[in-house]
């Protein structure tokens, strides 16, 4: 058993990510859209650096693979708090 979980929020395994890269993913969002890594509660805070390293090693580290865009809210926020004036 040499597989392991890379994205815990969405339960995405190393093998899923390797498969996504094989399918043509060359960016963090490309992996996310194929296998949901980084789509969950922490929004890739934990898995994005690992995935970025994996992509970099595949591309020979010539250029930094595109990363997921940071979006509001920067951490989970109750809708109630978001709409309070």
């Amino acid at each position: 058993m040499d597989d392991m979980i890379i994205c815990r929020c969405e339960g995405v395994y190393l093998s899923d990510i390797l498969k996504a890269i094989e399918e043509g993913a060359s960016s963090v969002p490309g992996i996310k859209k194929r296998v949901r890594a980084g789509m969950g509660y922490c929004q890739g805070r934990v898995c994005q650096p690992v995935i970025r390293d994996m992509l970099e090693s595949k591309t020979g580290g010539e250029k930094m693979p595109p990363q997921q865009r940071a979006q509001t809210p920067v951490r989970p926020v109750l809708l109630d708090d978001m709409i309070r004036r």
Partner: protein, 382 residues
Amino acid sequence: MSYKVVVAGGGLIGASTAYYLTKSGAEVTLIESKDIASGTSGACDRAIMLQSKKPGPTLDLAIESIALYKELEAELETELEYRKSGGMIIIETPEEMAAMEHMVERQQKAGIDVKLITGKEAQERQPGLSKDLIGSTWWEEDAEVNPLKVSFAMANAAKSRGAKIKLGTPVKRLLTENNRVIGVETPTEKIYADAVVVAMGVWTPKLFEPFGVDVPIIPRQGHILVSERMPSFLHTGILSAAYIANKLKRNHQSEDPDPFGVGLAIGQTHSGSLLIGGSRQFTGYNTETNPEVIRKIGEAAVRAFPLLAKARIIRAFTGLRPYTPDGMPILGPVEGMDGVYIAAGHEGDGVALAPISGKIMAHMVCGENSGMDINTFSLSRF
């Protein structure tokens, strides 16, 4: 020798066109500047709402498209999360009620069995809806699907049927010879083809600018909020009447009292997250989120579902919908330029119309009869 076709654009429409072209026996090359579903098709929701389509040609197309969706999971041997969920358009004010009564009447005349139900009936059908609603529409044929899965499954199916897929490859320009498009140029090569289909959504006009051809597609920005995973509770697709009013507005040249075009569109993904939209605003190619718009969408969501005040939002994003002045997509050849076709301009109807758009384009390019009157969608109508 088989017919060579280049499809420019790897969103829902481009991937679908590539797939149906391979089914028609064409030799296909799909060229995409970034990645499959990296633009509009990766920044949208999952609704296939027929109710929200304008009665007429667009609605007819949507009905054909749904018929294709029903077979698509089996055909592509991939789970697409397609589900006939039914759909509601919720009504909050007497003014909205008058507008929706009128719309439902037109839909019933068009042969669609949409019903108006009371607020109480709406709550019974969808627990959690506010007691303040004065009514809702209901139609059981509305559906939902995961647009990411559709995009990738179509691209993969095209590939396994022999299509070449070039990701990370922008189309720099169309190659022409005596008013005929003979291929495309990328940063590294020239790719020649018998026909080129441009399915570049909001980025389509730029490719035609050098030829003096005006493609009236304008980016219309829409926001979506994503919630944390929640237990499955949304059984149907839900829009608000305000959403419909904003959708039908053709207002790219006018000053509008609600510049954000906020109306509720809410659905729940298989993972449990809610996708909560939306807004419609002309902001050029800007995809920054706007806190004021996010707040207004949040307010609309909590008004419809008071319990959502306690839901956590984990992300907000925007997508650029390809707006056209008459709200219908452009599917067809380009006058004065042979060998090139446009499949773009679906605004918020791209998810619903992807399969039929791809099928129509494949038939058109390969000279087969699609059995539909498609002149309605040609660029020359503008």
